[in-house]
Structure formats: C-alpha cells, structure tokens
C-alpha cells in the first residue's frame, strides 16, 4: 500500500492508447462478436465517449481491420510434416477456422483489404509453400489471392446468415427445380448440397492448387 492513489478507489481508468483500444476491441469481439464492436459500445467499455476514440482510429472500418490482424496472429503457419499440398491446405484451413470462429470477421476481411503484419506473415507462409511445390512464380503471385479469397468468402458465407432458414430455402429451391426448365439442377439434385463444409473446402483448396499449377498466365499479361 505504498503507491500513492487517488482518493476514491475506482477501477483505475487507464490512459487511452491505440494499443489499449485495439486490445479492448479484441476482447469485446471475443465476448460479443464483431458487430458489437461499435465506436459507442467500445467507448462505454473504455469509460469514455465515442468521440475520444477518433484521435486513435480513423473510423470503424479501420478499427475492425486492426482487430482482424490481431486475430490473424493465431493462425497456424507451421503445419506438421507431409506433402507441401497437405501442409498448404492445413495453413489455409487454420486461417478459415479463425475467421469462422469469430462472426463478422470474414465479412470485414472481404471489405477492407487486410495489410497488417500478421496478414503479411500469412501471405509469406503460403507463398513459401507454393514455391516449395514448384508453382511458377507468376502463377503463385496471382494464385495466392484466389486461395485466401476462397477461404475468406467461405467463412463469410457459412456463418454470416447464421440462420438455417436461408439454407432451407436453397434446399427447397433445388428440390422444386423442374426437370423441364432446370434439367441439370434436377439431375444433380441433392449432390449440389452434399458434403460437409470442411470436406468441400478441402476439395476447393485442391482445385485451386491444381488449377494454379496448370494454368499459365497469358504471355502478354
């Protein structure tokens, strides 16, 4: 009890810093989801007014981007042993899972192009694996966007709606497709919706890896 304290015992309001704001935002997001990470809600959490945050953060989009990069620090960039393709799928799956586990995060990754340090580490790790696999550099340079975009979009799609009602609609639409007007949909039927999420995603990554390897960029490009 030797440190001097202010007269009244209070939760000790810490000085505002960008790092502190982002850290609080990450905590709030883990607790309540990204859509609750609003300027006003966050300000309340920090025991201040929303206006004060604008000294450290340009706007809500930038705040969400900072939260995203923080979370990307938890992606597993060092997969186990195995073929380079398997390890690549492992990294991409880890990335997808991080987005998937935090509703709203994938959405924000699609809208505001990530460029934080943890995102760069992810890009580097994926490029290293593509290089190890002998993918031509030009194709790797364009292919990585496709790989990360697919991961991000899959995460955004598969929990954004959240509501199974949407899925019921899709299922009904496929089932009710007339063989007259939509013969191919009718023929494939439930196979269009078959497979678990992870199964389809892993297959999708293989498709992209194989396609990137075998599809040259036009000479003029």
């Amino acid at each position: 009890m030797n440190a001097p304290r202010s007269r009244r015992e209070r939760p000790a309001k810490p000085a505002l810093t960008r790092a502190g704001i982002v850290a609080t935002a990450v905590g709030l997001m883990k607790a309540e989801g990204l859509d609750r990470v609003t300027m006003r809600r966050l300000a309340t959490e920090l025991d201040t007014g929303a206006a004060s945050l604008y000294v450290y953060v340009r706007n809500t989009a930038e705040l969400h981007a900072a939260v995203l990069d923080e979370l990307l620090g938890t992606v597993n960039l060092r997969p186990g042993k195995g073929e380079w393709q398997d390890r690549l799928v492992e990294v991409l799956t880890s990335y997808t899972k991080v987005l998937f586990d935090h509703p709203g995060l994938a959405q924000s990754a699609l809208v505001a192009r990530p460029s934080g340090p943890h995102y760069l580490n992810l890009v580097e790790a994926v490029l290293a694996l593509l290089s190890e696999g002998g993918i031509p550099p030009g194709q790797a340079a364009w292919g990585i966007d496709l790989l990360l975009q697919t991961a991000t979009a899959t995460a955004a799609e598969h929990q954004a709606g959240d509501s199974p009602a949407d899925w019921d609609l899709v299922e009904a639409a496929v089932r009710n497709a007339s063989p007259k007007t939509h013969p191919h949909i009718a023929a494939l039927g439930s196979d269009l919706l078959s497979g678990s999420g992870p199964q389809r995603l892993a297959w999708g990554f293989r498709v992209l890896i194989n396609g990137t390897r075998s599809t040259p960029r036009e000479p003029s490009e």
Copy 2:
C-alpha cells in the same frame, strides 16, 4: 378524363404490394446504392411508415435478397459462339459485372444465400456449360459453388472498400516487406499486385475450371 378520381390531385399513392415494394427498392438501389435501401428510406419513398413494410417483407436481409434476384435477371446467360470454356467465362464475367456495377449487392449475395428464380437460372446455365465440357457431375456439383463464390467475392472485394487508401496500404506493405523476414513477398514484389481486375478474374475462372476438371472428389465423399 372519364375515370373517377379522388377530389384532390395527388401523386396517386398506389396500394402496397410485395412486388411494388421490391420494384421501388430496385429503383432506389439503382439511384443511390444498396446501402440506401433501408426500411425507413424505402418507406419514405413509398409515402408510408417503415412499420407497414413488415407486412410484406420479413426484414432488411430478405428485402436485399429480393433486390439481388431482380438484378440477376440481367445477367447474360446466352453467350456467343466459341469453346465452352470461353462461353462459361463470359457468363461468369457478366454475373460479376452485374454485382460490380451495384455497390453493396455482392456483399449481400455473400451474406444471404441467394435462392431466387433468376439465381437458379444462372446455376442451371453454368451447370449446362460444365456438362457440355464433360466435367464429371460430382465435380461440377461442387465446382459451381466455387465459381460463383469467386465471382461474388471478387465483386465484393473490389468495390466494397471503394477507397484507394486501402490499396495504398497494401502496396506500401508489399514494398516495405523485408527480404529478411518475407523473402517470397520481396522476391515477387509488384507482380503480386500486377494485372487488371478483369485479367486476373478471367485467369481465376480458368484456374477453377481446370482445377475442377482435374481434381476428383475422394471416393468416400
């Protein structure tokens, strides 16, 4: 002048119907963008209160989905002559362009799974082309998701931010990547960001078509 009219000349407020609401929403979206298609704004346009719309529309997400399907009616499903791959890329590019031309639409397509009649027509057209190309049905059934998702995500990414500031950040991040810590990023350098949007997208579609053709689904799946 023979039809009976109400005493005062007024802009003739039409009775509310779901079709009328959606049509007005489409007009509003074309004029001001999807983010202005709010319940309140739309109600003002229809000269009523926001609460009235809830008789015809479950919520904002459903309204946006209806607007999306309306717009999908303008996708070109009957491309010219040429190899099936080229025609497929043409259809997908048309779809991407429709989303791209209407800010916010792609976002909404990612969040609320489309299942309207025009969307089904698009799926049918793409499946027909994959079938014509001899893609095994099982691979086509899963591949179509990948194709449409890539189109949607690309549209969402490339105009959502809208701000070139985001891109400047990415560019700076790539340029400042140290060869020590990020050797592959440094080695590829500007090639990571090279190419026009349409060039990269067309290449991406080829990657997916080639990959879908050459990547079998696991027997157990």
